[in-house]
C-alpha cells in the first residue's frame, strides 16, 4: 500500500508539473530569426541569426527551432538541414532561466531574389519530457539578393555601342544650369568655373563641369518573356544581370537612365520600373530588379513598346535587353524602327549556343541587334 500511495503522490506531482509547464512553459519567451543583412550580393556570406530569450524563472530543458529557407540561401554547415523544395533547418538551443541563446549560422546567397523565412516553429518540453510544447513564431525578416554584376569586359560591346551613340550626338555647347560633376582645374578652364568650396576641401583647384545641352537620356527596357518552350530562367536571370550592370556602369559615367520591365514584383505583383531617369540610388534599383519574380508570368512586351517607345517624342536612346525573340517581339521592334525610333536590341546568348549566335533577323532589325555572349547554360 505504501508503494501505491507513493506512486499516487508521484503521479500528482507529475500532473502538477505538466499542467504548470503546459500553461507557462512557452510564455515570456522571445524568439527571433533574422538575416544579418537586408541587402546582399550574390556569393556574399551573410548570417542567419537565431535568438531565443527566456524572460522567466522557469527553465526549459531545451528549445528546438525549426524554420524553412529557400534553396537559394545555402547553409555553409548543412548538418541538421533537410532539402526538399526548401531547406528545412532544425536547431537545438539551451534555455535556462533568464538566459539568451544566440546562434549565428553562416549562409551563402547564391541567387538573385527576395527571401523571407517561412514557418518558424519552436518546440520544447516540460522538465520531465512528458509533454511536447510548441508554437509558431512570426518573422518579417528578409534579405534581398541583388542581381549579379557582370564585369566591364562582358559588357564591353554594349558599352561601346551606347557611348558611341551618345558621343555622336553630343554638342560642344554646355548647359550652365546643368552640373555634370567636378574635376581638377586645367589651364584652359576659365576662373569663373572654379568651385572654391570644393577646392578648399580637396586642397587643389577644382572646377565645375557643366553638362552638354544635348544630354541624352537612355531608356532601358527589360523583356522577361520566356525565350524557349521549356520556360527556362537562365537567360532571363542574365538579362536582369546585364540590365543591372549596364545601369551601374552608366550611373558611374553620370548618364541618366530610366528602366522599364514587364517582370512583376514578388510582393506587389506590379511591373517593375523606374521612369524617373534620375540618377537616384542605384541600390533601390538593384532591389527593384532583385524583387522581380520570374515564376510570375511577365506582361506582354509589346504593351511596353506601345506605351513607352512609340509614344515617346524625345530623342532618347532605347536599349532593349531581351532574350525573347519571337515574331511578336520582332514585329514590335520593326514598328518602332519604322517610326524612326533610336533603339538597340541586346540579345543575351550563351557562349556555346550556336543557334542563337547564328540567328538571323529581318534586315530592318539586323543593324540594331547586338548579341551579348554570357557564361552559363540552361
Amino acid at each position: 500500500m505504501t508503494i501505491l500511495v507513493f506512486l499516487i503522490i508521484i503521479g500528482i506531482l507529475v500532473s502538477i508539473e505538466l499542467a504548470f509547464y503546459t500553461k507557462k512553459g512557452l510564455s515570456k519567451l522571445d524568439v527571433d530569426v533574422h538575416f544579418s543583412q537586408k541587402i546582399a550580393n550574390p556569393g556574399d556570406t551573410i548570417e542567419v541569426v537565431e535568438i531565443a530569450q527566456n524572460n522567466k524563472r522557469i527553465p526549459l530543458p531545451f528549445l528546438i527551432l525549426k524554420f524553412e529557407t529557400p534553396v537559394a540561401i545555402e547553409f555553409n554547415d548543412m548538418t541538421n538541414v533537410a532539402l526538399t523544395d526548401n531547406f528545412y533547418r532544425e536547431d537545438m538551443l539551451t534555455m535556462g532561466a533568464y538566459t539568451r541563446h544566440t546562434r549565428r549560422i553562416k549562409v551563402t546567397c547564391t541567387k538573385r531574389g527576395y527571401y523571407t523565412f517561412t514557418r518558424i516553429t519552436v518546440s520544447s518540453a516540460d522538465l520531465l519530457l512528458v509533454q511536447k510544447l510548441g508554437m509558431t513564431v512570426p518573422s518579417d525578416s528578409s534579405v534581398t539578393v541583388l542581381p549579379e554584376r557582370l564585369s566591364i569586359d562582358e559588357l564591353h560591346t554594349l558599352m561601346v555601342v551606347t557611348f558611341s551613340d551618345i558621343q555622336s550626338r553630343r554638342t560642344l555647347l554646355t548647359d550652365p544650369f546643368s552640373l555634370a560633376g567636378i574635376r581638377e582645374y586645367q589651364p584652359w578652364d576659365p576662373m569663373r568655373q572654379v568651385n572654391w568650396m570644393a577646392s578648399a576641401r580637396t586642397g587643389d583647384l577644382m572646377v565645375n563641369q557643366n553638362d552638354s545641352t544635348n544630354n541624352r537620356r537612355i531608356n532601358l527596357f527589360i523583356n522577361l518573356e520566356p525565350y524557349n518552350t521549356k520556360n527556362s530562367n537562365g537567360l532571363l536571370e542574365k538579362t536582369i544581370s546585364i540590365a543591372y550592370s549596364f545601369m551601374l556602369e552608366l550611373y558611374e559615367q553620370g548618364i541618366s537612365v530610366a528602366f522599364y520591365s514587364n517582370g512583376l514584383d514578388v510582393l506587389t505583383s506590379l511591373p517593375v520600373a523606374d521612369k524617373t531617369a534620375e540618377i537616384s540610388s542605384m541600390e533601390q534599383r538593384g532591389i527593384d530588379l532583385a524583387r522581380i519574380d520570374l515564376t510570375k508570368e511577365a506582361l506582354p512586351f509589346f504593351s511596353l513598346i506601345d506605351e513607352y517607345i512609340l509614344s515617346d517624342v524625345s530623342d532618347s536612346l532605347n536599349v532593349i535587353i531581351s532574350a525573347n525573340c519571337d515574331d511578336r517581339f520582332r514585329a514590335g521592334l520593326e514598328t518602332a524602327l519604322q517610326q524612326g525610333k533610336n533603339l538597340i536590341w541586346v540579345l543575351p546568348c550563351y557562349k556555346g549556343d550556336m543557334s542563337r549566335k547564328n540567328m538571323t533577323v529581318e534586315a530592318t532589325i539586323a543593324p540594331h541587334l547586338k548579341k551579348l555572349e554570357v557564361n552559363g547554360h540552361d
Binding site: V5, I9, I10, P59, F62, A97, T102
Partner: protein
C-alpha cells in the same frame, strides 16, 4: 584495441549510455539486495551485515563501466567476472556471505548476458533503456515471487524492500529522462557544431527535478498518516461496493474503523496519533530544510560549471567556421518590486500612491491621459470622465511632488 577518437557529441552519448548501464546494473544489484533481505529473515544463520550487502554495488558498477570500453566482448565478460571473483575472495572469510555472493553472481551473470546481447555496437547508436525496464521487471518479479513463497506469520520489516522499490523507480525515472531526451529530441541533432555539452548538461539537470520530486513524494509519504488514509479509502470502497451490491452490513473486518463508532474511542485514537505527528513534523521540517540546502548547493555547483564562475555573463559555447553560439544571462526581475522608494516615504508616499491609484482607476474607466500631462491636466481629464474626483488631492500631490 582500436584507437577511436570521439567527438563531443559521441562522448556525451557514451556518457549517457554509461549512466543507463549503471542504472541497469544498480537495479540488478537492488534485486540482489532484496533477495538478501528475505534471506536474512528466512535463512538460518545468514546474518550478513548490511554494509557487505551494500558493497556489492562496487563490482556491479565497475563491471558496467568496463562494458562501455572499446574492447572485444570476450574481454569485457572476463573483466566483469574478475571483479566479482575479487569481491568474493575479499569477503570469503565471512562464511555466511556465500549465499549473498551466490545470489549476487547469478543475477549479475543475467545482467551481463543481457547487456552483451542488447548493447548497441556503434557508438553513435541510440540509447536503449530496455535493460533498465528488464531490470525493474526482474526486481519486482523476484520480490513478488519471494513474498508469495515465503509468506507466513513471521514478522518481517518491509522498510528495506519498500526503499528498494523507491530506488528502483527512481533509477527507472532517471534512465527514462536520459532516454526520452536522447531518443525523442536530441538524436535528430547531428551537427557537430551544436553546443552539445551545454544541451546535454541542461538535460542532466532535469534529473535534479526527478530527485526533488521523489524527495517530496517520500516526504509526503512519511508525513501523511497514510495508514489512516488507506483505511478510510478501503472503508469507502467497501461502502460503495456494499451499496452497489445492496448489502446492508458494511464489512469492516481487520479495520481500525471500529474505533470510530464511539466518540470516546475516537479521541483516544487521535491522541495516539498526535504525538508522533509532532515529532514527524519537527523531523520532517528539519529533513526538508537540510534537503533544500543540499539541493541549492548542488544546483549552484551545476550552475557554476555552466560558466557562471566569477560572474561571467556572456559565454561563447560553441564556434566553428559556420556556426557560432553565444549564451548570455539576462537581467532578472526582482521577486518584489520595491515600489515604496518610487513614491518616496511617509506622507509623500501616502499622497502619491493615492493619486497614482485614482489615476490608474480613471485610465481603466477610459480616461485618456498622456505621459506628458501635468498634474492639473491629469486632474481635468479624470474629472471630465466623472468616475473619479481628484479635487484637493491634486494640490497635495503637487506640494509633495514638486516641493
Amino acid at each position: 584495441m582500436t584507437d577511436v577518437k570521439l567527438n563531443e557529441r559521441e562522448n556525451n552519448l557514451l556518457f549517457d549510455k554509461s549512466i543507463i548501464e549503471i542504472c541497469t546494473s544498480l537495479l540488478f544489484f537492488l534485486t540482489t539486495f532484496a533477495i538478501c533481505t528475505y534471506a536474512d529473515v528466512y535463512v538460518p544463520n545468514y546474518e550478513v551485515p548490511y554494509w557487505i550487502m551494500m558493497s556489492g554495488a562496487i563490482p556491479v558498477v565497475l563491471s558496467a563501466l568496463v562494458r562501455q570500453l572499446n574492447i572485444p566482448s570476450f574481454f569485457k565478460v572476463i573483466a566483469s567476472f574478475a571483479f566479482f571473483v575479487i569481491y568474493s575472495i575479499v569477503f570469503y572469510p565471512y562464511f555466511n556471505v556465500t549465499i549473498h555472493l551466490f545470489v549476487l553472481v547469478i543475477l549479475d551473470i543475467l545482467n551481463i548476458v543481457y547487456a552483451m546481447l542488447s548493447i548497441a555496437k556503434p557508438i553513435s547508436g541510440r540509447i536503449k533503456i530496455n535493460g533498465v525496464l528488464f531490470a525493474v521487471l526482474t526486481n519486482f518479479l523476484v520480490k513478488f515471487a519471494l513474498t508469495y513463497l515465503m509468506y507466513d506469520d513471521r514478522e518481517i520489516d518491509t522498510t528495506g524492500l519498500v526503499i528498494n522499490v523507491f530506488l528502483a523507480f527512481f533509477i527507472y525515472f532517471v534512465a527514462r529522462q536520459i532516454n526520452e531526451f536522447e531518443v525523442g529530441y536530441y538524436h535528430s541533432m547531428r551537427s557537430s557544431v551544436l553546443p552539445v555539452k551545454e544541451v546535454s548538461k541542461q538535460n542532466r539537470k532535469t534529473i535534479v527535478v526527478v530527485t526533488i520530486g521523489f524527495a517530496v513524494a517520500i516526504f509526503c509519504l512519511w508525513m501523511l498518516p497514510w495508514k489512516f488514509i488507506t483505511n478510510w479509502l478501503t472503508y469507502l470502497i467497501r461502502l460503495v461496493m456494499s451499496k452497489l451490491l445492496k448489502q446492508d452490513d458494511v464489512i469492516t473486518d481487520d479495520l481500525d474503523l471500529n474505533l470510530m463508532e464511539t466518540g470516546e474511542e475516537m479521541i483516544v485514537e487521535e491522541e495516539a496519533v498526535s504525538n508522533p505527528w509532532v515529532y514527524r513534523f519537527i523531523w520532517g521540517t528539519f529533513g526538508i530544510s537540510i534537503a533544500a540546502i543540499f539541493t541549492i548547493l548542488i544546483v549552484r555547483a551545476i550552475m557554476n560549471e555552466f560558466g557562471d564562475k566569477n560572474n561571467i555573463r556572456r559565454q561563447v559555447v560553441g564556434s566553428s567556421d559556420a556556426v557560432t553560439d553565444v549564451i548570455e544571462r539576462v537581467d532578472r526581475k526582482p521577486f518584489l518590486r520595491r515600489s515604496a522608494n518610487v513614491f518616496g516615504t511617509g506622507y509623500e508616499m501616502k499622497i502619491r500612491k493615492k493619486f497614482y491609484k485614482k489615476v490608474r482607476k480613471a485610465i481603466s474607466h477610459g480616461a485618456e491621459i498622456k505621459s506628458s500631462y501635468t498634474a492639473k491636466e491629469i486632474t481635468s481629464a479624470v474629472d471630465n470622465l466623472g468616475k473619479e474626483q481628484l479635487g484637493d488631492l491634486t494640490k497635495e500631490y503637487e506640494k509633495v511632488r514638486y516641493k
